[in-house]
């Protein structure tokens, strides 16, 4: 056979395998509004950048008639490519091939590209669309999952790991995304659960649809499993691409800087925050008034909305914003918001992203449900995450900073590098009403007109303590400045922390309150 003939043979073979599960299966995939695995990879990566590996891998299952079945690529596409020039490793499960079921060789392809990503220190993106374990392959299939989970954990904090749920992801399979940094879901397409509606119905008698049990909305609003929600696959890919621009390729690098850009004029920082600390506003507007081009890329937008987290740039450098949100539950810390913020802080610390904390909170959320849900344990996560973080850490106290919340939100005492305050900041053990009631309990009780006395004492307390100067007098706050100076101060703080060196005692690892 001549080389030409051999080449023709290769092309024919490739064409065949690239068709995945065949035209009928592709048609079915499309009829439910899903792209094929190949289309997904190609639309996610830079044009012509995708290089595929292990196209000709075949399964080696020998039971239950599997020996006669041909499964192209064994149901998963793997390879490398670029996103805006950043190198990435990808795998995409192909639902058209045996329902994207995970057999031994399927898993081997995934773990091979995972090993590659870790060795090359580049981000890993996994597109999940699979019915689950390939039952015919028994324990070999389970072994495959285990090998993936182990590698997810090994790579955690070394390379960015992104999971995209574009179909079912059920049973044990859900734990790979759960171990990765960011999970992307798409409305109507993503389905994640440990046990599906069928099992729940037969075993427990509860009737629920897949969407209600583990759809995209559920995971972005209720469970907190997903970090990004999109209405279509293409919107989802745009989100992934945008995320890639904000983060470094690995933990030994910094995110690539962008050309600096001033915030948009429509966000007037002087006009966003009402001076009355009981009045709400959208703290994201403050972020937009500070960040380059007013571009704020929010993470977990719909979960625990009383805290806001996400990426932006200041003077071209990526920073992670953590901000209390007075618009929702007055911006209190509670179980979910602590959990949400703590993980993000640890992400930023692992990947050399400076943290900017915008503080305005009345404290922790009171209530039996919170106490019994473990607000002590969950709340501790945020203290732990800030305390262990050695990236540049800057806090701006916009308004209230009361009690335990003040300590938790990257205070000087947890080794923040810079703590700034606006002139309207109130740093105190609690709000004036609560404090006056305790300190002046006797005076109020014994007064002829207790209400008038309470009012008087609240005013007295306000005058004395609800300002930034008591804390500034102790050096807990470095600088008090006008809101309009915030960006300038942040730019400078980030500039002077460029070579920050800060260590922690050597240890195998800490014991955070998981």
């Amino acid at each position: 056979m001549s080389l030409k003939q051999k080449t023709r043979e290769l092309l024919k073979k490739r064409e065949q395998v690239e068709l995945g599960g065949g035209e009928k299966a592709i048609e079915k995939q499309k009829s439910i509004g899903k792209l094929t695995a190949r289309e997904r990879v190609l639309s996610l990566l830079d044009e012509k950048s995708f290089h595929e590996y292990d196209l000709f891998v075949e399964h080696d299952a020998r039971d239950f008639g599997m020996e006669t079945k041909v499964l192209h690529g064994d149901g998963v596409i793997t390879g490398t490519g670029t996103i805006y020039g950043a190198p990435v490793c990808v795998f995409a499960q192909d639902f058209t091939v045996a329902g994207g079921s995970l057999g031994y060789m399927h898993a081997r392809k995934i773990t091979k590209i995972m090993d590659h990503a870790l060795k090359m220190r580049v981000p890993l993106i996994g597109i999940n669309d699979s019915g689950g374990a390939r039952i015919q392959e028994g324990v070999n299939s389970l072994a495959g999952y285990g090998e993936i989970f182990f590698r997810n954990t090994l790579s955690s904090g070394v390379i960015p790991q992104i999971s995209v749920i574009l179909g079912p992801c059920a049973g044990g399979a859900v734990y790979s995304p759960a171990l990765t940094d960011f999970v992307f879901v798409v409305e109507g397409i993503s389905k994640m659960f440990i046990t599906g509606p069928e099992v729940i119905k037969t075993v427990l008698g509860e009737v629920i649809s897949m969407e209600e049990l583990g759809g995209a909305k559920v995971h972005s609003e209720i469970t907190g499993n997903a970090h990004f929600f999109a209405k279509s696959e293409l919107e989802c890919f745009d989100q992934i691409k945008k995320l890639i621009t904000f983060i470094p390729w690995n933990n030994g690098q910094k995110a690539r800087p962008f050309p600096p850009k001033e915030p948009k004029a429509e966000f007037d920082i002087e006009k966003i925050v009402p001076s009355d600390p009981t009045q709400p506003y959208d703290v994201r507007d403050v972020v937009r008034a500070i960040a380059d081009d007013s571009d704020f890329f929010e993470v977990m937008e719909n979960f625990a909305r009383n805290i806001v987290i996400g990426f932006g740039r200041i003077n071209g450098e990526t920073v992670g914003f953590v901000a209390n949100q007075p618009l929702v539950l007055a911006g209190v810390l509670d179980c979910d918001s602590s959990d949400k913020a703590a993980r993000f802080i640890r992400y930023c610390n692992a990947f050399n992203i400076p943290l900017v904390t915008l503080e305005d909170l009345p404290g922790y959320l009171p209530g039996v449900d919170q106490e019994h849900a473990g607000v002590i344990r969950h709340g501790a996560k945020i203290l732990y995450a800030y305390s262990e973080a050695t990236v540049p850490r800057i806090t701006v106290i916009l308004r209230k900073a009361y009690g335990g919340g003040y300590i938790a939100m990257n205070s000087r005492h947890l080794r923040a590098d810079f703590v700034f305050a606006w002139p309207g900041a109130e740093i105190a053990v609690m709000g004036p009403e609560g404090a006056a009631n305790i300190i002046f309990r006797k005076e109020i009780a014994n007064a002829e007109d207790p209400d008038a006395m309470r009012k008087e004492k609240v005013e007295e307390y306000k005058k004395k303590f609800t300002n930034p100067y008591v804390a500034a007098a102790k050096g807990y706050i470095d600088s008090v400045f006008e809101p309009s100076e915030t960006r300038k101060f942040l730019m400078h703080a980030i500039e002077v922390s460029k070579n920050k060196k800060d260590g922690r005692p050597k240890k195998k690892h800490g014991i955070p309150p998981f």
């Binding site: 008698g205 009981t278 009045q279 959208d282 007055a330 039996v368 449900d369 009361y402």
Partner: protein, 105 residues
């Protein structure tokens, strides 16, 4: 920008804040002291056997039901001694989690 007209109030340490409440906050259950004389299903499942009758005297740890859940036959025992006031389930009945099964007084 925040629309202030629609805001709700949340009181923390005596101060009333204007804000939006979340659904999970609004749906939170008010805590009530658990009453151990009201026996509930700790897990959803199927009542296979009922061993007692209304009006019967029972001692603590008397076998009350078999509740089959997750392929396990769970024995439900009386938490206290007393008289069976009312039985809320019958044999073969599927019960969701936290169904009241029996009242003892």
């Amino acid at each position: 920008m925040a629309k202030k007209e629609k805001m709700e109030t949340l009181c923390i340490n005596g101060t009333k804040y204007k804000t939006n409440l979340t659904e999970s906050f609004r749906n939170r259950k008010n805590w009530t002291k658990p009453d151990e004389r009201m026996v509930e299903a700790a897990i959803p499942g199927k009542i296979l056997n009922v061993y007692v009758k209304e009006g019967q005297k029972v001692k603590a740890e008397t076998k009350l039901f078999i509740l089959e859940a997750m392929k396990m036959k769970n024995i439900i025992l009386a938490p206290v001694s007393g008289v069976v006031k009312k039985i809320h389930v019958i044999e073969g009945q599927q019960v969701p989690k936290r169904t009241l099964l029996i009242e003892i007084e």
